[in-house]
């Protein structure tokens, strides 16, 4: 495991309230490490404290307790003047892009270089290079108001990368974009991570963003990290209710109770949900086992997608055959993967663990 480039130790941020006792603990005792070279996701619903957490990294908000160490520098208690060079070494992109409307695209990208004291000639060269990297080399002399959202975020990324930072912070960077543009921007962030070796911290409430690019994730609620780990593990075995809700919203692969009722009405056979992931392998096993036991399988629901670039999902199948053969096939499947038996319309088995947690009031949620 590589050395941490960002270390939170009991990091806490309390905003004073307007009235006494009205203080807000936006970040509450967070301890975690972000490793150099990874794409780290922080997910949570709005108000969970993730935006504040990311602002502790470049000290736009100072901690009120605990410490934050970035690339060997302890930010705790540093003066504004001492923090400025630290900030200049960390790129940041924003949901609303935050481009200067009074400057052209090139002028925006040149801004951090001016701050860093680069000469005019070097600035011009670097700006060209950056705009080519993000794929908008032809927009240099255009004002931001003439750009689409995706183009604006590309300018934002170019600007954030200008001074060759080691860390890029993305604060809801794709939340204002349509799905297609989101995919483009996420792909660009992945390139930034792979080709330039920049550590990326992605803050988002969109599980899709995490699913497609993050190596590790932290799930936040009420200012605390409630789940932390490898993105694939967090997805495949979510423990906290908030995480389960996120996973369910991102992978619409498991039938909800209502869907299940319709499936049973439509399909007379035994309905089972079979998990497909890296460990269980592809659906090849499913085909083999069913053939072995002389059972017919019809896929009636589900989907397989990628999490952290590895396969993940589930298939819901109607099994038709003699009851003994179906039981034997189920036993065979259970040996290789997780199987949930929903039974038949005549003999329904409601296995709660199979059913997607219903989005809605979950205890302890902040919505």
């Amino acid at each position: 495991m590589t050395a941490p480039i960002i270390s939170f130790r009991g990091a806490t941020k309390v905003f004073p309230g307007r009235r006494r006792g009205g203080e807000v603990r936006a970040v509450d005792g967070v301890t975690l490490d972000v490793h150099a070279g990874e794409i780290f996701g922080v997910i949570g619903y709005s108000g969970a404290g993730k935006s504040t957490l990311v602002r502790l990294i470049n000290a736009l908000e100072p901690t009120t307790a605990g410490s934050v160490v970035v690339d060997g520098t302890d930010l705790t208690g540093l003066s504004e003047a001492r923090l400025r060079p630290v900030r200049a070494g960390i790129g940041m992109i924003f949901q609303q892009f935050n481009l200067l409307s009074s400057r052209t695209v090139a002028g925006n990208v040149a801004y951090p270089l001016e701050v860093a004291g680069w000469s005019r000639a070097r600035r011009a060269e670097r700006v060209r290079e950056l705009l080519d990297f993000v794929g908008i080399g032809d927009k240099a002399d255009v004002y931001p108001s003439k750009l689409s959202g995706g183009q604006k975020q590309r300018v934002g990324i170019a600007r954030a990368l200008a001074t060759n930072p080691k860390i890029l912070l993305a604060d809801e960077a794709t939340s204002a974009l349509d799905p297609e543009t989101t995919a483009d921007v996420l792909a660009l962030l992945r390139r930034v991570n792979r080709e330039l070796g920049i550590t990326v911290v992605v803050i988002t409430h969109e599980m899709d963003a995490v699913r497609s690019i993050c190596h590790r994730v932290a799930v936040m609620e009420h200012g605390k990290v409630v789940e932390l780990g490898d993105a694939y593990q967090v997805f495949s075995a979510p423990r906290h209710p908030v995480t389960r809700r996120f996973v369910a919203s991102a992978l619409k692969d498991r039938p909800s109770p209502a869907v299940l009722a319709r499936l049973r009405a439509r399909h007379p056979g035994r309905i089972v949900t079979v998990r497909v992931d890296e460990v269980a392998g592809s659906s090849t096993h499913l085909t083999h086992v069913l053939r072995e036991h002389g059972v017919d399988g019809t896929i009636v629901y589900g989907g397989i997608t990628e999490v952290a670039e590895r396969p993940f999902g589930s298939l819901t199948v109607e099994l038709v055959g003699s009851p003994d053969a179906v039981d034997a096939a189920l036993t065979g499947l259970r040996a290789v993967t997780d199987v949930v038996d929903h039974g038949t319309a005549a003999d329904p088995r409601d296995d709660a663990s199979a059913v997607v947690p219903v989005p809605g009031p979950v205890e302890g949620s902040d919505r």
């Binding site: 736009l60 060079p85 200049a88 960390i90 940041m92 935050n98 409307s101 009074s102 801004y111």
Partner: protein, 218 residues
């Protein structure tokens, strides 16, 4: 009054008005911008948030601004004497105009800066920019268009103030309209001055609008 007499009179008065207005626009504009930036920056939650300084600046603006200018001239008397050395004449009058214009423009500047997206300021901070640099490269350029319009508005206000220059013997177009028109029952003189003033205001407003549009970058 014949045109032969009125012509040179108006010419001289226009020169006095131009002096008063231009000096006030430059001096009041500069100090107003500074004071307005101070108000904006020290406002709670902003770049140089400082409750005490903000309270003092805010109170000063609120106290000075509503005082009618003709009364303000009298109240400011001792200060004018201390700075200019006398309380009458075009210099003394212009000094009072500068002070009032500073407070008026300060509020205009502050109001225009408040409309800037705080996210842009945050982005500049995240790139390691110092407060002074942010003022110079973010706040002023981003609010330039409304600032130009505010400055144009200030021009009209300053021209308005200059009309009572006659009370301190500062002369100006307003003085001609009062002394030679109103007091001598010569309506034509008053009307002529009004037409000239309207013409000037129209021209300046046109110029301000066109500059503001060019500064908008949209």
């Amino acid at each position: 009054m014949s045109w032969d007499q009125l012509g040179p009179l108006l010419w001289q008065a226009a020169g006095e008005t131009a002096y008063m207005v231009l000096v006030t626009l430059v001096v009041g504009g500069f100090f107003g911008l500074t004071l307005g930036l101070g108000l904006y920056l020290t406002r709670p939650g902003n770049l140089l948030a400082n409750r005490a300084v903000f309270a003092v600046l805010n109170a000063a603006v609120n106290v000075v601004r509503p005082v009618p200018f003709i009364i303000f001239l009298a109240v400011l008397g001792p200060v004018t004497r201390a700075v200019i050395g006398r309380t009458i004449g075009i210099e003394a009058f212009t000094f009072a105009m500068c002070v009032m214009a500073t407070f008026v423009f300060a509020r205009l500047v502050e109001q225009n800066l408040v409309s800037i997206d705080p996210g842009v300021v945050e982005a500049a901070r995240a790139m390691g920019a110092s407060p002074l640099r942010i003022i110079r490269t973010v706040l002023v350029p981003e609010a330039l268009s409304p600032l130009v319009l505010g400055y144009t508005f200030l021009f009209v206000g300053v021209l308005d103030m200059s009309a009572i220059g006659g009370y301190l013997g500062a002369g100006g177009l307003g003085d001609v309209a009062i002394a030679y028109g109103y007091r001598q029952f010569d309506w034509a003189v008053t009307a002529t001055v009004v037409v000239i003033i309207i013409g000037i205001v129209q021209l300046v407003q046109l110029l301000g609008n066109s500059l503001a549009r060019r500064a908008l970058r949209r």
